[in-house]
Symmetry: C2
Subunit: 223 residues, 2 copies
């Protein structure tokens, strides 16, 4: 009876970690969407608010870290639960750095919004959506223990990489054609690179999830 109570409590604590991680993931998705919106709609006020919002992501990182340490210390979990908690510790770091990337994108948007638009943003929003989906799916794969979904995330990373390369090539052409474009084009390249890094973080999470599920490390074997 005592044992059952203990086990129920423990499950509750694991669920709390799971829920907090999903909450953090949800907030990060909103940040990605708002960072892109602040650029596309030239909404500098939204860029400012999104930069300030990063604080909430940072706080959630600390809360989840502490919760994980507390559960490790008090419950001394083994096997699967241990892998789950240590992975949660690594995942929050990736999510926090995605928040940093969003803040960086907003800083570039703030600058770009002060100058005439170089060209309409078409590929960047697509790239942002793809990166955001990857973050969501990587976290879903984690909480559900769904390795097929995690593998899909790793594969999707290539699309984002290709979009990034295509955008960089296009902007290079702009720069070559007119030196007045260079400064703005460089900022847009930084935005594109930021989105690519967000997708990389999602891929890192997915690779770790596959490791957790399969119990062996595919991080450095998947192409």
């Amino acid at each position: 009876m005592e044992r059952e109570h203990f086990s129920r409590q423990f499950d509750n604590e694991l669920n709390q970690i799971r829920e907090k991680l999903l909450e953090m993931g949800g907030k990060v998705e909103v940040m990605i969407a708002n960072a892109m919106k602040s650029l596309v709609e030239r909404d500098t006020e939204l860029a400012e608010r999104t930069i300030a919002f990063d604080h909430e992501i940072n706080t959630l990182e600390m809360v989840i870290d502490e919760k994980c340490l507390e559960v490790l210390a008090r419950r001394q979990p083994a096997a699967r639960d241990l892998r789950f908690i240590t992975l949660a510790l690594k995942i929050v770091t990736d999510l926090e750095r995605i928040g940093d990337q969003c803040a960086n994108i907003c800083k570039r948007a703030r600058e770009l919004n002060q100058e005439p638009a170089l060209k309409p943003y078409i590929d960047l929003p697509r790239m942002a959506q793809a990166a955001s989906d990857m973050v969501k799916e990587a976290l879903d794969a984690f909480v559900r223990g769904d390795d097929a979904l995690a593998i899909k995330v790793c594969q999707d990373d290539q699309c984002v990489d290709e979009l990034n390369e295509q955008i960089q090539r296009e902007l290079l052409t702009f720069m070559m054609g007119d030196p007045k474009c260079i400064s703005r084009a460089m900022k847009i390249i930084q935005v594109s690179k930021g989105l690519e890094r967000i997708a990389d973080h999602a891929t890192n999470i997915a690779e770790m999830v596959i490791f957790m599920i399969k119990g062996k490390d595919i991080r450095h074997t998947i192409a």
Copy 2:
């Protein structure tokens, strides 16, 4: 007696983790130095070897991760030791990604070495040295529990950021002056950005070390 034996064994295991982390750090430092050398001395063969060497960093990441999980499962450490091990788990991820950055720099070096040099590299080697020192000091701070050293690393990050901005400004001037420079300048900017990210990883490690020592989170309060 039995207890003492257990405790000695446990200390041994913590030392093993410590040593493996320092070994990984040492290899990462070599990678940074070689990445820079392959660029400055236009040594494409060294670039190739350094890219291939990243495999060793990846293997060490897996080895240390597994060791940490094993100690967590078998020893069920508490308090300080628990923080030490969970931090080791996070630090290997940063080290592994520094290895990735070095490989990326080598790929740019490989491309740049095929074209005439745009200009002598003066600031980049300084930046690489600063970033490499930061990695070393962050790890030293971790294994020694030296918060003063960790704080120094966080402060040094600003010098690297400033060097990066200076390099970017200078290359922007090159690009504006001659469109033929743009493609090469962009690659050098990527190298500079890669070094800045390496310094960021070192800073992340240092911030986590301060957290471990002080027991409270300064990650999001240090300017």
